[in-house]
C-alpha cells in the first residue's frame, strides 16, 4: 500500500535528479556554501580566489567548446576577446563611471560585431589557416590594448574599483555571488543550446559541410552564430574577470592564454560540460590550488607548465576524447568489475551458474 506512495515519490525524485540541470545547480549551491565558508574564514581566501578564477575560465572554455567541439572551428583568438571584455568594463564602468547596464550593452554589442566578423572570415578560410588568422586578430587586439592608452591605460595595466549599481558601489561578496550565478546560468544556456536544433546543426556542420547544407543548415548562419556565441562567452568572462581580479594588463591576453583554454578543452573533452570543467581544473586549477602548496613547485613555478605539457601529451595520445572519456571508461570498468565479482560470489555461495 505504501508502495504506491514511495513509487510516486521516487519517480519524482529520480526525474529531478536525472534532469540535466540538476548536477550543475547543485554545484552552484555547493559553491555558494564554499563562498560562505571563505567569508567565515574556514576556507582560505586565496583558495576561493582560485575557485572563482576557475569558474571564469570555465565560461571561456564552454564558449570555446561550442566552437571547437560542436562547430569544429579552430580559433586562437580567445585571449583577445576576453581582454576586450576586461577593458570594456574597466573603461565604461571604471574610468567613465557609466552604469553597469550600459557597459553590458556595449560589451555584448562589441562581442557580437567582433564574433560576426570572425565568423564571416571563417566562411572563406578553414582549419589551420583560420586558427592563424584568429591568432593574428588576437595579437592585433593585444597591440591595441598596449597602445590605445585612453581606453586601456597601456602596458601599466588598468585597475578597476568596485562598479556602481543603483548609485551604490557593489560589494565584493555580491560580485562573488554573481560569478557563481553567471557560471551556472552559462552552463544551463550551453546545455540548452547543445540539446536543441542549433546544437545539432553545429554538430552536423562539423561532420560534413555538404550533408549539413543539404539538410537546410546554412553555413553562414551557423558559423557566424558559433563565433558570436564564443565571443559573447569570452566577453562575459572578461567582465567577470575584471570585477573579480580588478586588474587587467595587455600581457595577460597573449597566445599563452588562448592555448591554455584550448588545452583545457582538449584535455577535458570537447563535447562534455563536465569534461570541460575537469579540463579547466587540470590546466588552471591544479596549479593554483594544489601544486603551489608543494615546495618543489614553489621553488620552480614554471615546472607546472611541464606538468601540463606532459598531461596534454598523455591525454591526446591515450584518450583523444579527453579525460572525461577516461572517467567514463573507468566507470564502466568498475560497473563490470562489481557485476563480475557478484557473479563469482553467487557461484561460490549458491552454486549457481547463470
Amino acid at each position: 500500500m505504501l508502495g504506491t506512495f514511495w513509487k510516486e515519490v521516487r519517480g519524482t525524485l529520480s526525474r529531478v535528479v536525472k534532469h540535466p540541470y540538476f548536477g550543475f545547480i547543485l554545484l552552484g549551491v555547493a559553491l555558494l556554501i564554499v563562498r560562505r565558508f571563505a567569508e567565515l574564514g574556514m576556507v582560505s581566501p586565496s583558495l576561493y580566489k582560485s575557485i572563482s578564477s576557475m569558474m571564469i575560465y570555465s565560461i571561456i572554455a564552454l564558449g570555446f567548446s561550442l566552437l571547437l567541439g560542436y562547430a569544429g572551428l579552430a580559433s586562437l583568438g580567445t585571449a583577445g576577446f576576453v581582454g576586450l571584455g576586461t577593458y570594456f568594463i574597466g573603461h565604461f564602468s571604471g574610468t567613465l563611471q557609466k552604469p553597469f547596464g550600459i557597459t553590458l550593452l556595449v560589451a555584448l554589442g562589441g562581442a557580437i560585431v567582433l564574433g560576426a566578423v570572425v565568423g564571416f572570415v571563417s566562411l572563406r578560410i578553414e582549419g589551420m589557416y583560420l586558427a592563424i588568422i584568429t591568432l593574428g586578430l588576437s595579437e592585433i587586439l593585444k597591440e591595441v590594448f598596449k597602445s590605445f592608452t585612453a581606453f586601456t591605460n597601456g602596458v601599466t595595466g588598468l585597475t578597476f574599483r568596485n562598479f556602481m549599481m543603483f548609485g551604490k558601489p557593489v560589494p565584493d561578496a555580491a560580485v562573488d555571488q554573481a560569478i557563481i550565478l553567471v557560471f551556472v546560468l552559462v552552463i544551463i544556456a550551453t546545455l540548452n543550446i547543445i540539446n536543441s536544433p542549433t546544437g545539432r546543426a553545429l554538430l552536423a556542420m562539423k561532420n560534413s559541410d555538404s550533408a549539413a547544407q543539404s539538410m537546410g543548415i546554412g553555413l553562414m548562419k551557423y558559423r557566424l552564430l558559433a563565433f558570436v556565441l564564443a565571443t559573447v562567452y569570452a566577453v562575459i568572462a572578461g567582465l567577470l574577470y575584471m570585477a573579480d581580479i580588478k586588474f587587467s594588463i595587455p600581457g595577460t591576453w597573449s597566445l599563452d592564454f588562448s592555448l591554455n583554454i584550448l588545452a583545457a578543452v582538449v584535455v577535458g573533452g570537447a563535447q562534455s560540460i563536465l569534461g570541460i570543467l575537469l579540463g579547466v581544473f587540470m590546466i588552471f586549477g591544479l596549479n593554483m590550488t594544489v601544486l603551489q602548496n608543494i615546495p618543489f613547485f614553489r621553488q620552480y613555478p614554471d615546472a607546472t607548465w611541464i606538468l601540463s605539457g606532459v598531461l596534454i601529451i598523455l591525454v591526446t595520445m591515450f584518450y583523444p576524447g579527453g579525460l572525461i572519456r577516461l572517467l567514463q571508461a573507468l566507470r564502466l570498468k568498475i560497473i563490470l568489475l562489481v557485476r563480475n565479482l557478484r557473479k563469482r560470489w553467487r557461484k561460490y555461495r549458491y552454486g549457481e551458474d547463470d
Partner: protein, 475 residues
C-alpha cells in the same frame, strides 16, 4: 520589372502558404500527444485516490481480519520474497555440504548437522510465513464489531471513491473535449486562411510557370545541362524530365557524371550552362539555378550521398531531427531558454521521427549511436532521414551500394513504399541493374555525360547503344 515583382509576390504568398500548412501540421500532430498527457495525468490522480482509499481501509480491514486486496497482495509479495530468500539459503547449505563432501566422506555427526540445519531452515521459514499471514489484530473492538464497522465504512467509502472517479473521468473528458475543440477551431481557422490564400494565388497568378512551360505532370526538368571541370566535360548538354510520382533511375558506367548531375540539381555545383526547372507545387515552377544549396530542401528536394553522411556523435533519433531542421519554427532565443513551444515542437518531431523509424523497421535503433552499426542499417537511416522534411522529390545516390542481395530486395520494397506512403517522387542513381529494372518506371542511361537512351526499363535493356556502352561492358 512587373514580372519580377509579381514573382516575388508569388513566392512570398507561397511561403506564407507553406508556413500555414506546417502550422496546421504541427497542431494536428501535437493533438494525440497532448491527449495522452491529459490521460496520464488523470490516471495518476486516480492512482492517488485509490491510494488514499486504501490508506483509510487497510487498518480497518486488518482489525476486522479482512485484509484489503492491496494488503493481501503486499503480504503475498512478502511471502514470495521470503520463500526466495530461503531457497537461496537452502542452496547455500547444499553447496557447503557439497564442498565438505568433496574433501572426504562425511562423518555421521556432520550429516546429522546438515540435516538439522535444513530442518531448521524449513521450520523458521514456515514460522515466518505464518506470522506474515496471521491476521494482526491490534484493535480494542471485538471481532464482530470490527467487521460490522469495516463493512459499513467500506460500502460508504467505495461509493465515495466511485463518485470521485466518475467526476474525474468526466473532468478529463471535458478537458479532452476542450483541447480537441480548440485544435479543431485553430485548424478550421488555418484552413480558412489557407483556402483564401490559395484562391488568391490561383486568381492572381494564373498559370504562373516561371520561365518554362512545364507540363502539369513534370516535376523536374533538366534543359541542356552541361558541367565542365577544366578540360573534362562531365555532363554534356543533357535534357530530360522527371515526372511526378515516378521512380526515375539514372544509370551509367563509373565516372559517367551521375553524381555530378545530382550535385548540380542540389546546387553543390554551378552548371556551366543549362537550366533546371522544378515544380514546387500546383501553381509554381521555380528555376533551381536561382537557389543556394541550403534552400534546396525547403523546396522539397532531399538527397542522400553516395557515402554515408551521418552525424556520428548523435543518436539515430537525433540524426533524424537534424534532417527536420527546416521544419522547426523556434528561433535561437526560444532554444536558448528551452521554451515550452520548443519542447512541444521537439515532442511532435520526435514522434514523427519514431514513426518514420517504425516504417523502415528501425525502431530498435532509435536511441543507438550510428557508429558501428551494420552498413545496411546506416543506409536505411539515411533513407529515413530524407523523410523528415516533407519531401516531394527524393534523390538517392546509389542506395544499394554495399548491401547484400536480401537487403537490396528489402530496399526495393521500401523505396516503393516510401513513394506510395509519402506521395513523393524518387530519382535514383544505381549500379545494381536488378534493382533499377525492378522498381524504376523510367530509366535514363548516360555515358561520358551524354544521354544514351531514356525509356521504360524494358526498352533500355533492349537498346543497342546501352548494351554496348554499359550492359555489354558489365557482362
Amino acid at each position: 520589372m512587373a514580372k519580377m515583382i509579381e514573382r516575388m509576390l508569388l513566392r512570398f504568398r507561397l511561403s506564407g502558404l507553406g508556413r500555414l500548412r506546417s502550422q496546421k501540421n504541427m497542431i494536428e500532430s501535437y493533438l494525440p500527444i497532448r491527449e495522452e498527457i491529459v490521460r496520464q495525468r488523470s490516471a495518476r490522480a486516480i492512482q492517488w485516490m485509490e491510494f488514499l482509499h486504501e490508506a483509510k481501509m487497510a487498518p480497518l480491514g486488518n482489525a476486522a481480519g479482512r485484509p484489503t486486496a492491496t494488503v493481501a497482495a503486499a503480504r503475498e509479495a512478502k511471502v514470495q520474497a521470503l520463500r526466495d530468500r530461503y531457497r537461496l539459503k537452502e542452496k547455500a547449505l547444499a553447496q557447503t555440504r557439497k564442498r565438505a563432501e568433496a574433501k572426504g566422506p562425511l562423518s555421521p555427526e556432520a550429516i546429522a548437522g546438515f540435516e538439522e540445519s535444513g530442518r531448521k531452515l524449513v521450520e523458521s521459514r514456515d514460522r515466518r510465513i505464518a506470522a506474515i499471514l496471521a491476521p494482526s489484530r491490534r484493535s480494542s473492538l471485538s471481532e464482530a464489531e470490527a467487521l460490522r464497522k469495516f463493512l459499513e465504512v467500506e460500502t460508504e467509502q467505495t461509493e465515495i471513491l466511485a463518485r470521485k472517479k466518475a467526476a474525474l473521468r468526466a473532468k478529463e473528458e471535458k478537458h479532452l473535449d476542450a483541447i480537441r475543440k480548440r485544435a479543431a477551431r485553430q485548424i478550421a481557422h488555418l484552413d480558412g486562411k489557407i483556402a483564401a490564400l490559395r484562391k488568391m494565388v490561383l486568381e492572381r497568378h494564373p498559370a504562373q510557370t516561371g520561365d518554362a512551360d512545364l507540363p502539369e505532370n513534370v516535376l523536374l526538368r533538366l534543359q541542356n545541362l552541361s558541367m565542365r571541370f577544366g578540360g573534362l566535360l562531365a555532363v554534356d548538354n543533357l535534357s530530360f524530365d522527371v515526372k511526378q510520382g515516378e521512380i526515375f533511375g539514372l544509370i551509367g558506367p563509373n565516372g559517367a557524371g551521375k553524381t555530378t548531375i545530382f550535385n548540380c540539381i542540389t546546387r553543390f555545383y554551378r552548371p556551366t550552362s543549362g537550366e533546371m526547372f522544378y515544380r514546387r507545387n500546383a501553381v509554381e515552377v521555380i528555376r533551381l539555378n536561382d537557389f543556394p544549396v541550403h534552400q534546396i530542401i525547403r523546396q522539397g528536394i532531399v538527397r542522400t550521398f553516395q557515402n554515408v553522411e551521418l552525424v556520428w556523435e548523435l543518436s539515430v533519433l537525433d540524426n533524424l531531427l537534424v534532417a527536420a531542421h527546416t521544419v522547426y519554427r523556434s528561433g535561437f532565443f526560444a532554444q536558448l531558454l528551452h521554451t515550452p513551444g520548443l519542447r512541444r515542437e521537439e515532442n511532435v518531431l520526435k514522434a514523427k521521427a519514431l514513426g518514420v523509424l517504425q516504417t523502415l523497421g528501425l525502431s530498435a535503433y532509435a536511441y543507438a549511436f550510428p557508429y558501428g552499426l551494420p552498413y545496411g542499417i546506416l543506409k536505411k537511416i539515411e533513407l529515413a532521414r530524407t523523410l523528415m522534411a516533407n519531401p516531394r522529390l527524393i534523390i538517392l545516390d546509389e542506395p544499394a551500394a554495399g548491401l547484400n542481395d536480401k537487403e537490396t530486395e528489402e530496399l526495393a520494397v521500401l523505396i516503393r513504399k516510401i513513394r506510395d506512403d509519402y506521395k513523393c517522387t524518387i530519382f535514383l542513381v544505381e549500379h545494381d541493374m536488378g534493382l533499377v529494372m525492378d522498381i524504376c518506371d523510367t530509366v535514363c542511361a548516360i555515358s561520358f555525360g551524354r544521354m544514351l537512351a531514356i525509356g521504360t526499363p524494358a526498352a533500355i535493356q533492349a537498346d543497342p547503344l546501352v548494351r554496348a556502352a554499359y550492359l555489354g561492358e558489365a557482362s
